[in-house]
């Protein structure tokens, strides 16, 4: 699997997107805090966090005795810059080409 594949796979799940939204609201949370927001076993939440960590979208860091989970937006940004920007730009230039073509023919 490539890095992008891991990110797409991690995002292709409503529970994991929910976890990311919770971290977006308030970053640096413990497993216990995140677990309290979901109707799910601790083990289930851990599994989802693991997938997010493998994709690099969540970074866990120790702070004293606690393990805090942070949202890392960079992998999503990379996909944005690599894929979304590219196609959005293409549409804009296609539109610009169409405009100049129409104006030439008029």
């Amino acid at each position: 699997m490539t890095d992008d594949d891991r990110v797409f796979k991690a995002l292709a799940d409503p529970t994991r997107r929910f976890l990311l939204d919770r971290l977006f609201e308030r970053d640096g949370r413990t497993l216990t805090e995140l677990e309290s927001e979901l109707e799910m076993t601790r083990f289930g939440v851990m599994k989802h966090l693991r997938v997010l960590e493998d994709a690099g979208i969540v970074v866990a860091r120790r702070s004293g005795r606690e393990k805090l989970h942070f949202l890392n937006p960079v992998p999503i940004r990379l996909i944005h810059d690599r894929w979304i920007d590219k196609y959005a730009e293409r549409r804009v230039s296609a539109l610009a080409d169409l405009k100049s073509e129409l104006e030439q023919n008029s």
Binding site: D3, F24, E25, R26, D27, G28, G56, V59, R61, S63, L68, F70, N72, P73, V74, P75, I76, R77, L78, H80, D81, D85, E89
Partner: protein, 169 residues
């Protein structure tokens, strides 16, 4: 991005990116102006890489064209410099009076070599009592033309090191 309120208990932001480059190359890309002018806000940095050494970021050619841009856009002080592994510094944005008033924040770069020539770069920005700066570096003002914050900067850093190309700005 939406106007969702960010009400964190921890005001730290963590960014991580994997780059196919040596730790030395990444260290240079962060600390040398000939590199920093090629990605992100294209600022020209000036580091005195020793504890207590000064840090300044000057506007690049593009930024300097705008009106009201100060001569120094970011200042700070080096706390720890361990090339090419770890750089800790203070960091204060001087672009406007409100941001300047939030004072100095703490910025850490950690560089760890990994397998297959891929290096892990982690950036930790401690933004206590700096909500305006947190929004800015979090990329919340991108649609207003303020750039995409650290994730955009690091995406550009990765691109420039891996391909030699500069992301569109």
């Amino acid at each position: 991005m939406s106007n969702a309120t960010h009400a964190p208990t921890t005001t730290t932001q963590v960014y991580r990116v994997y780059i196919k480059a040596t730790p030395e190359a990444i260290w240079d890309a962060i600390t040398k102006p000939e590199w920093t002018e090629r990605y992100g806000y294209a600022a020209r940095v000036d580091y005195d890489l020793r504890p207590g050494g000064a840090y300044r970021a000057y506007p690049g050619a593009e930024m300097a064209k705008h009106e009201g841009v100060p001569d120094v856009v970011v200042d700070g002080e080096v706390i720890e410099a361990d090339p090419p592994r770890r750089l800790v510094q203070t960091w204060r944005m001087l672009m406007d009076a409100d941001l300047k008033a939030e004072g100095f924040t703490r910025l850490t770069h950690e560089i760890e070599p990994g397998e297959g020539g891929v290096t892990k770069l982690t950036m930790i920005h401690e933004l206590e009592d700096a909500p305006k700066l947190a929004a800015l570096v979090g990329g919340e003002h991108e649609s207003e033309g303020a750039g995409g914050g650290w994730s955009w900067v690091l995406s550009g850093l990765k691109t420039v090191l891996e391909t030699g190309d500069e992301l569109d700005r």
